[in-house]
């Protein structure tokens, strides 16, 4: 059998790719699952933390509200600083083995993997979301308040959708980082793409060839991710043009909209201009 093994580089790559396709694809699939779930969960954590950090406190509020908010914010700050300030690889071992040795909580390797990526991403996203919320013009908040929306409604229906649009590039960054950095989870035995690549490499000592395949798969995943996020951005922006809603069907053929028939002249004039501009 050994005599039939290829000896050249491309031959070995093809050999590994065809004989271990299932194993590589399974690893890649796990990598995608960890990255996507971790990024999504991280975004949710980030949004929750970001919203709590931006709750306005007025001097009229009762003392207990201020106190609770202060304590919660302190805890959240510690969370962000700790998980942003330490390597994910160390966090992985710290949490996985720590939980194993000293608590009755026995994390499965998979739940540990998802948990670690989520809280790590959450720490980064918290700051991103806070920035995203602060980047929205104060006028949007005032507009929402002026029609009687509560802080929560203002956030949910007005600020959040706009902040989300602004931070999509950063979410994309996190997704790409997670696709790649989930490879450090191999230290706790998570069977993702890097882990299986190393395993398959070890079978024949074909490290260069196995890593070539891993490189290609990682690249395919990250390039796809960035394209998908671009598409999502475009979709959120909505169409660049809009249709004039008018009951006057002739308006469409003339290209001008006279509206309304009984309005003052300057209305009709404005609408004509508007029609021509676009």
């Amino acid at each position: 059998m050994t005599s039939s093994l290829p000896t050249d580089y491309w031959g070995r790559v093809v050999y590994l790719a065809s004989h271990y396709a299932g194993s590589f694809l399974n690893g890649a699939w796990k990598t995608i699952a960890i990255a996507v779930v971790g990024t999504a969960a991280g975004c949710i954590i980030g949004f929750l933390v970001g919203i709590i950090q931006t709750i306005p406190v007025s001097p009229k509020d009762p003392w207990y509200k201020k106190a609770v908010l202060k304590i919660v914010r302190l805890i959240l700050n510690v969370y962000v600083e700790v998980f942003r300030g330490t390597p994910m690889m160390v966090q992985a071992m710290f949490i996985y083995f720590g939980a194993l040795q000293y608590t009755s909580l026995k994390l499965s390797m998979w739940s540990a993997a998802f948990l670690i990526v989520s809280i790590n991403t959450g720490a980064y996203m918290a700051e991103t979301v806070r920035g995203g919320i602060l980047s929205i013009d104060i006028g949007q908040t005032e507009g929402a308040k002026a029609i009687g929306m509560s802080h929560f409604q203002t956030m949910l229906y007005v600020i959040f959708p706009q902040a989300l649009r602004n931070i999509i590039p950063q979410i994309g960054n996190n997704l790409i980082i997670n696709l790649k950095d989930s490879s450090v989870l191999s230290v706790i035995g998570t069977i993702e793409l890097f882990y299986v690549a190393k395993q398959n490499a070890g079978t024949y000592y074909w490290y260069f060839e196995a890593m070539t395949i891993a490189m290609i798969l990682y690249l395919i995943m990250t390039l796809t991710a960035s394209r998908l996020l671009r598409w999502w951005e475009k979709k959120l922006d909505g169409p660049a043009n809009y249709d004039l809603a008018t009951t006057d069907t002739l308006a469409f053929t003339s290209g001008l909209v006279e509206y309304p028939a009984d309005a003052d002249d300057h209305f009709a004039e404005r609408n004509k201009e508007g029609g021509e501009e676009r």
């Binding site: 308040k145 009687g148 809009y242 809603a245 404005r270």
Partner: protein
């Protein structure tokens, strides 16, 4: 005299050590159109923003239908839903279309059904001549168009009073007319309005009362005829002569 909706009593506002409003006292009756005029920095906008609690008054009272809103913790959101506001910078929701802008408050705050909210929104958008643009996003509209949508959005909430904070100051001169025309219609329909403005013709011809502010206090107050034809205070005379000649 018609019913008093809003009373402002001894209202003061300070930012740090900077006193912006000092002992402001006046009332708004149903159907009043009150123009607030004065130089930049005289506290006009702050007064309007205090009126619907976008700024918290430092002291004094705001009494709405006999109820003192500054005395206890009140539901500011519920009050704001009754008092509409139109801003200098429009503040339309950029993530929504024109129609959604006029519906969201009705659905989220007034808890109306979607169909009902849409019918109301369309009605007011038609009033301001923006019905053809219901599918447009704010960024696709001109300043005057945005401001007309903003007025429709405020009207769709069925407010008792409308506050206008320099509604035409951010507009190109040729667009000022279309917004003023809408406001003129509103005033004629009996809407109660408080308008901070630099449009002296509007203050003179449309309003029922004119308030002249200087350095955070109400300097002079009266009917448009009194203020424009026969001002009592020298500050008012100075201000108006500068404005009318320019």
């Amino acid at each position: 005299m018609s019913e008093v909706i809003l009373e402002i009593r001894h209202l003061s506002k300070t930012f740090g050590t900077n006193v912006v409003l000092r002992d402001i006292d006046f009332e708004v009756r149903k159907g009043d159109v009150i123009s607030i005029i004065g130089a930049s920095g005289s506290g006009k906008s702050t007064l309007l923003r205090c009126t619907n609690f976008l700024e918290t008054p430092t002291s004094g009272q705001i009494i709405y239908h006999g109820k003192d809103l500054t005395a206890s913790r009140i539901d500011e959101a519920a009050y704001r839903a009754r008092v509409g506001m139109v801003f200098q910078s429009f503040n339309l929701f950029n993530n929504m279309t024109v129609l959604q802008n006029c519906m969201t408050g009705q659905i989220r705050v007034l808890k109306k059904k979607k169909e009902e909210a849409e019918a109301e929104a369309r009605k007011y958008l038609e009033h301001v001549g923006m019905l053809p643009y219901i599918n447009a996003k704010p960024r696709q509209l001109s300043g005057g168009q945005k401001q007309r949508v903003a007025i429709a959005r405020a009207l769709a909430m069925g407010p008792e009073i409308l506050l206008f904070d320099e509604p035409t100051s951010a507009l190109d001169p040729e667009m000022v007319g279309e917004v003023l025309a809408v406001m003129k219609d509103l005033a004629a329909s009996g809407m109660t309005m408080m308008v901070v403005t630099h449009e002296m013709a509007f203050a003179r011809d449309i309003s029922s009362q004119v308030v002249f502010m200087k350095d955070g206090v109400i300097c002079e107050q009266g009917s448009p005829d009194q203020i424009f034809k026969n001002p009592q205070r020298s500050e008012t005379k100075d201000f108006l002569s500068r404005f009318m000649n320019s």
